[in-house]
Symmetry: C2
Subunit: 353 residues, 2 copies
């Protein structure tokens, strides 16, 4: 524990400092946990966490923001516990997050993530599936020490919701852009609450549980995490269309090129005055390899923005975020940790601008 | 609990009766557990367990022998506990087994299992991956009630070994038939102990744990389960080449057609007098779609048998099985349950004849 954490401080640390502080506490435990894997699977895990390249050469301090473990640590502090007590929970959610990215990349056929090849691209689909399975199993082993029954139950519930959300997301691909079977904003919101909200709910809930929070406080933090997840998914959807490729590591308008039914699109196709809908569907359905594909997706993005898809999604992000922070503010007994959670959430949200 | 279980009996029940008795105890709990899944994933799980067809129409009492849950129930009784106490463990191992079959079928590209389409073939790769992930998560939730820490640890260890074994099995595909990098009998044995032995070790170990066995008895039952797994894998390897398609549901000589490096093949290629090896490699590498493919695989099978690959594998199966049953015999306090475990193991082994 750093002096800053023990003593409190006059000025709040920046979100980057918060993430860095949590990372310093979680990474050694995460590495120790991953080291328990057999060599072949451990090698793939090290690649997925950005610790080494495909040949096993050490390459960096790792990657990813470490948002979920930070949420766990700060939630433990917010209910009056210590961050140390929640390290096992933080490791578990980071392992589950890594598992879900690995399996998602296989299902989505994504070849790059965080400026490097995805695991399946580097090692093959079968080995990558297995590495994901191993990280999932390791996550349960991690929480099996303390508060085992509730923690395992929480983790399992989150995983089943996550899987359900991902299954819905896949099923959305086969649904039409418009008409009675089209994906509605409500369908989308429920899917996102499962796909993204469940693991963030688990991250905050496990933190409160390991921090010694009451069942009421633990449930409240889980709710806050779920809302944060809804907000972050909305932000990801904005980035998937209007994000800067230098930041996202993905092509501009990527989600439109991939015909993803994300919130801005679903909203744009569902607005009452749908005179623009046929034009938008034509743009979305255009041949992705055509010479004017770049222009087509840009026109689709502009049309979505004109009919309010971008601002609606921004409002959703902001609304869910505010709800999350209100819950934290109501329940937290450690004001410093509550303020830090707020700073962290705002920092993530600001990625969209 | 049936009268027979409560009262003991003069004549031992047949292995089929044992399996049926365990199935009657485990299936209701398994169905209750699977019913906790969200509809889409539950639907796929019901298909994977053989409870309904792809359209959701109820089709049977389910399928699969239920060997692993039976091993759990009988192990609980063998250490002096009751089978009821081990139902949660039996459900967990059956869920993990289903998960592993679903993911294996994706990785191996197998389109049929147990005389029906595999899950990925019926529902798509992404949804099937997710259904497997959900069943794995559910398994951990199932054991989170009683003896949670040890049970979760045991389940997690088994899963990581299982994944490691499966990863090795995949890696074997890229290794040459002969030479310094060829798969040896030792390599193969270690892989099989992980791929097949780990879950059977967990099945027996969880049974002993939930049955109230001492740590020593629990470890001994885990060892017995591991040996059983080694034996059963050897038997599967025999069936993969010489098994009756009407029994296996797969084409005759299937593993040779798929160029699997199973124990009879690995042994045959590794015997000292390897004059036959080039001929065998030529047969194994022959074009699988050639008009004489049936003859080629038959000649490969005959050659493997001539140089002792079949009898070596039969001896391995028998040796591992005997070791397993000796351990059970040493440790069991309930002689009736020990005799039933023996009957069950012998029944499975006899599938090869």
């Amino acid at each position: 524990m750093t002096n800053r954490m023990r003593l409190g401080q006059p000025t709040a640390p920046s979100a980057q400092e918060l993430l860095e502080r949590c990372r310093r506490m979680v990474q050694p435990a995460l590495r120790d946990t991953v080291d328990r894997l057999p060599p072949g699977v451990r090698h793939m895990a090290a690649f997925a966490f950005g610790w080494s390249d495909a040949d096993g050469v050490v390459r960096s301090e790792g990657m990813g923001k470490g948002l979920r473990p930070a949420l766990t640590m700060l939630s433990a502090e917010a209910v009056g516990g210590s961050a140390e007590d929640a390290v096992a929970g933080a490791v578990a959610v980071e392992l589950v997050h890594a598992f879900s990215l690995i399996h998602d990349d296989i299902m989505d056929g994504d070849e790059r993530r965080r400026h490097q090849e995805t695991l399946w691209k580097a090692f093959g689909v079968g080995p990558a599936m297995l590495a994901g399975d191993a990280l999932l199993s390791l996550a349960f082993a991690t929480v099996s020490g303390t508060a085992a029954a509730e923690a395992a139950e929480m983790l399992s519930t989150a995983l089943i919701e996550l899987v359900d959300g991902q299954a819905d997301d896949i099923a959305f691909e086969d649904r039409p852009w418009t008409g009675a079977d089209a994906v509605t904003v409500d369908d989308y919101t429920r899917m996102a609450a499962n796909k993204t909200g469940s693991l963030l709910a688990c991250s905050a809930g496990l933190g409160a549980l390991f921090g010694g929070g009451s069942p009421t406080a633990t449930a409240a933090f889980a709710t806050a995490g779920s809302r944060l997840g809804g907000g972050f998914q909305a932000i990801d959807d904005l980035l998937g269309i209007w994000g800067d490729p230098a930041v996202t590591g993905k092509p501009v308008f990527n989600d439109l090129r991939r015909r993803k039914k994300t919130l801005p699109v679903v909203f744009a196709l569902g607005v009452d005055d749908a005179a623009h809908a046929p034009a938008l569907v034509r743009l979305l359905d255009a041949e992705p390899d055509a010479s004017d594909a770049d222009l087509t997706v840009r026109r689709a993005a502009d049309l979505i923005e004109q009919v309010g898809g971008r601002s609606f999604t921004e409002d959703q992000a902001e609304g869910q975020l505010s709800q999350a922070l209100e819950v934290v503010d109501d329940v937290a007994v450690n004001r410093r940790a509550a303020a830090e959670l707020t700073a962290l959430a705002r920092f993530i949200a600001d990625r969209s601008h």
